[in-house]
């Protein structure tokens, strides 16, 4: 009995140690534990019919002779792409917006080759990222040593920072526990039962998601509800704010051109609701993406637009229970990018 007790303690402490490690979830992905495999919105709502079993397959690689260096400032939409996805790229470097906002970073440029900065941004984040006062966070310091590309300047953790990182982040533990203990079929069935009960009895689903029954899709509430100032596709956009966003982008272009980038190109990925249901619940899409794309020449940068193309294929570009595009949407975007980056 005491041996069983002892073993249980050891196993539980082992699990506890793992769940306290930030990023443990990501490292478990190769072993089949992936919180997002069935869709990030499904993970909120747990409604069975929105389980998105169509896995996101990486778009095919494109290999041709190297002509230029490509730097991408992007988010979860473009984070999984690598050098071979882009045609003619010699050196490739990716910087996530979130990391750029939290830490300072540098950019080393190879002046013997043309350098292109591709600035990609999901529509729901445009108003957050490009406001004039936000831009300074996303400006890399020039650097002339080391490998070509972005480099985060990580500050060494002090004692309080260390404690906070490994002990005091409840969200890290909760996410890791979810991945380790509750991503099995039985647990998902139980969660789906609860979600179904709440939908049928109280008429409620998870507050993070909204159902679009017509196309059997889930939308992210942040993008559909006009009360969300930054992310909603239906929040009014005044001309003053539009001007400010353009000015912010112009500042970004100016900075990167000054430190040696030859070309800065913007590409916005529309919110699913903006192209699939621009009149969702009788609301009117604020046309954020097309309005900014029309004025791109004022920023001094280029533009790769997929808004019109996605408008043609609509729901076929996105996953059903997820906020992201599917393989078709991603391939479409990559094709457009590779057509445009023809150096």
């Amino acid at each position: 009995m005491r041996i069983i007790q002892f073993l249980s303690i050891v196993i539980l402490i082992g699990i506890y140690a793992v769940i306290k490690i930030p990023g443990a979830v990501l490292s478990l992905k190769p072993y089949g534990i992936d919180l997002y495999s069935l869709g990030d919105l499904y993970r909120y709502a747990y409604l069975r019919e929105y389980r998105d079993t169509t896995q996101f397959v990486k778009a095919p690689s494109v290999r041709v002779k190297n002509h230029f260096n490509l730097f991408v400032l992007g988010d979860s939409f473009t984070a999984s792409f690598h050098k071979d996805h882009y045609r003619g790229v010699k050196a490739y470097s990716f910087m996530n917006w979130n990391q750029a906002a939290e830490q300072q970073f540098t950019l080393n440029i190879d002046t013997t080759m043309p350098s292109v900065l591709l600035v990609t941004c999901a529509e729901k984040n445009i108003r957050l990222r490009f406001a004039r006062n936000q831009i300074p966070m996303y400006l890399a310091r020039p650097e002339s040593v080391g490998n070509v590309g972005f480099k985060l300047l990580e500050k060494p953790l002090n004692f309080p920072g260390y404690l906070k990182k490994y002990l005091g982040r409840a969200e890290v533990s909760d996410q890791n526990i979810q991945a380790l203990l509750f991503e099995n079929e039985l647990a998902l069935r139980i969660k789906e039962t609860k979600a179904e009960f709440n939908r049928s009895v109280f008429g409620k689903i998870a507050p993070e998601a909204e159902i679009y029954a017509e196309k059997n899709m889930l939308f992210q509430k942040l993008t559909t509800d006009p009360k969300y100032i930054y992310m909603s596709s239906f929040r009014e956009l005044g001309i003053e704010e539009e001007n400010e966003l353009i000015a912010g982008m112009a500042n970004l272009v100016k900075h990167y051109k000054n430190i040696g980038i030859d070309s800065v190109i913007f590409s916005f990925i529309p919110n699913p609701v903006s192209v699939v249901a621009p009149n969702f619940k009788g609301r009117a899409y604020n046309m954020l993406v097309p309005r900014l794309e029309r004025r791109m020449n004022e920023t001094g940068g280029g533009c790769i637009s997929v808004y019109g193309d996605f408008g043609l294929i609509r729901e076929k570009a996105y996953r059903r229970g997820d906020t992201h595009w599917n393989t078709a949407g991603a391939s479409f975007w990559l094709t457009r990018v590779n057509q445009s980056l023809d150096y």
Binding site: R2, Q5, F6, S8, I9, L12, I13, I15, Y16, I19, P160, L163, K164, L167, G168, A170, S173, D174, I177, Q178, L181, F182, I190, T193, K194, F197, N198, V201, F202, G203, K204, P207
Partner: protein, 454 residues
């Protein structure tokens, strides 16, 4: 770490239980519980553990010294210790409030942006209780630093009470009870009952009352009325839920904590209400403030004054804001009025007495919950605006029905002791049903307990 978080429920608590019953010997069990408690505390703001450890060291040594001092020196030294404890609490909790108000009359005091350490008011009051009991020679100063550390840190009650007395809890740390299935069953029942109250009652009702209290000018009269009723039960379910979970967790470790709530919404007078609501705090104020001030021994005026001091302090203890002070003042006034005018009517017209008590309590909660005094006034204005278009709240008719059923069922089940009878009839089945109901009806996404802010 929250009791209803996955981290606590699936890892921390099982490890604590296994370790506690695996280890042999009082020292090993105390050490394990102390380390686990420190770990529990550090899950929120790790660095704040040093503040708590500093307080523990100061009070531990202070009590030892206090015991050796003679009469006058003893009183002075107790005063000094109390001052240090209160100063610590005040610097975190009350400084900004004091500075804000003094700045209104010409001072220019700076404000800070420190985050209040979780449960600091509870730690300070529990430590003060220990110091005062030592000073009164009712409890000897603890010689074992580990035992005293555990007295302050014991994780089931460290963040929101019950505020324990050394007499109740320290002897239990001398010899922990062995595992007992019957007691464990009761512990599970208490925990589940608390969990249900928190996630299936408090957090459900909060989905309606929070938007109304946050936007009092936009809500209609009907909505304000419903929000007032819902909040009355939300705060009860939230705090009594937490207390029951704490009781259950401690019980499973072989430690019996004091009961914090005894069906307060069945009280037929305000005096009775305060004997049933947050008992560990009310008795703290009774024992360490009201009685030393003279209690009810020196006539009506003095007794009224003493009552008012206690309730104003209780208001301030709950929060640094005029709304909390007003809440305490109204309860004090209510009690004084009751003692003076209604004393002879207490035993008759029980239904009427119950109604006027609960109505007063409900009205007072408005000041407790409102963010500002202006919001509280606006709630009263909105209460009478029945033709105003309602505030848009994501709350279905079924949810309103559920809320109303809960509001009716809670006092009824407490009066007839339905839960208790069902538990005695078939405890495992009842616990199983409670677990299923909690899971299906519970909102596990909400954040903290209301009383954690104090």
């Amino acid at each position: 770490m929250l009791f209803h978080s996955a981290e606590f429920f699936f890892l921390f608590f099982p490890i604590s239980l296994l370790l506690h019953y695996f280890l042999k010997g009082n020292f090993a069990q105390m050490l394990a519980l102390t380390l686990l408690s420190a770990w529990f505390y550090m899950a929120a703001f790790p660095l704040y553990i040093f503040i708590l450890l500093g307080l523990i060291a100061f009070d531990f040594l202070g009590a030892l010294l206090l015991e050796r001092l003679t009469r006058t020196g003893r009183k002075l030294f107790l005063g000094f210790c109390v001052l240090v404890n209160i100063a610590l609490l005040a610097s975190f909790k009350y400084w900004n409030f004091i500075a804000e108000n003094l700045n209104l009359v010409g001072a220019s005091l700076p404000k800070h942006e420190w985050i209040l350490p979780v449960g600091l008011s509870f730690h300070v009051f529990q430590s003060l209780s220990y110091l005062i009991e030592v000073h009164r020679n009712k409890w000897p100063a603890e010689r074992n630093v580990l035992r005293y550390t555990l007295y302050v840190l014991f994780f089931p009650q460290m963040v929101a009470g019950p505020i324990e007395r050394p007499q109740n809890i320290l002897p239990q740390f001398n010899k922990f009870q062995a595992f007992n299935l019957e007691k464990f069953k009761t512990a599970i029942y208490l925990f589940l009952k608390g969990l249900f109250m928190k996630v299936a009652v408090a957090d459900r009702l909060a989905a309606f009352s929070d938007p109304v209290f946050n936007d009092p000018d936009l809500a209609s009269g009907q909505q304000v009325l419903l929000a007032m009723v819902f909040f009355m039960f939300q705060i009860y379910a939230d705090f009594s839920g937490y207390s029951n979970m704490a009781l259950g967790i401690a019980h499973s470790l072989g430690v019996k904590l004091m009961i914090n709530f005894k069906q307060p919404y069945l009280a037929c007078s305000l005096g009775d209400f305060w004997r049933r609501w947050h008992i560990s705090l009310s008795t703290w104020f009774r024992d360490y403030v009201y009685i030393p001030l003279g209690g009810s021994r020196h006539g009506f005026v003095r007794s009224g004054f003493n009552l008012m001091v206690v309730f104003l302090l209780s208001g301030i203890w709950h929060g640094a804001g005029w709304t909390f002070i007003l809440w305490g003042f109204l309860h004090g006034m209510g009690l004084i009025f009751e003692n003076y005018f209604l004393q002879h009517w207490q035993k008759e017209f029980r239904m009427l007495n119950w109604l006027r008590t609960q109505l007063w309590v409900m009205l007072c909660w408005i000041f407790f919950r409102a963010s500002t005094f202006q919001d509280a006034v606006q709630l009263f204005i909105s209460l009478f605006q029945w033709h105003k278009p309602p505030l848009l709240i994501d709350f279905s008719i079924t949810e309103i029905m559920y809320g109303l059923i809960i509001v009716i069922l809670i006092p009824l089940s407490e009066y007839f002791r339905w839960q208790h009878k069902l538990f005695l009839k078939n405890s495992w089945l009842f616990c199983g049903l409670l677990l299923v109901a909690t899971y299906l009806l519970g909102n596990f996404k909400s954040s903290s307990f209301l009383y954690f802010q104090f």
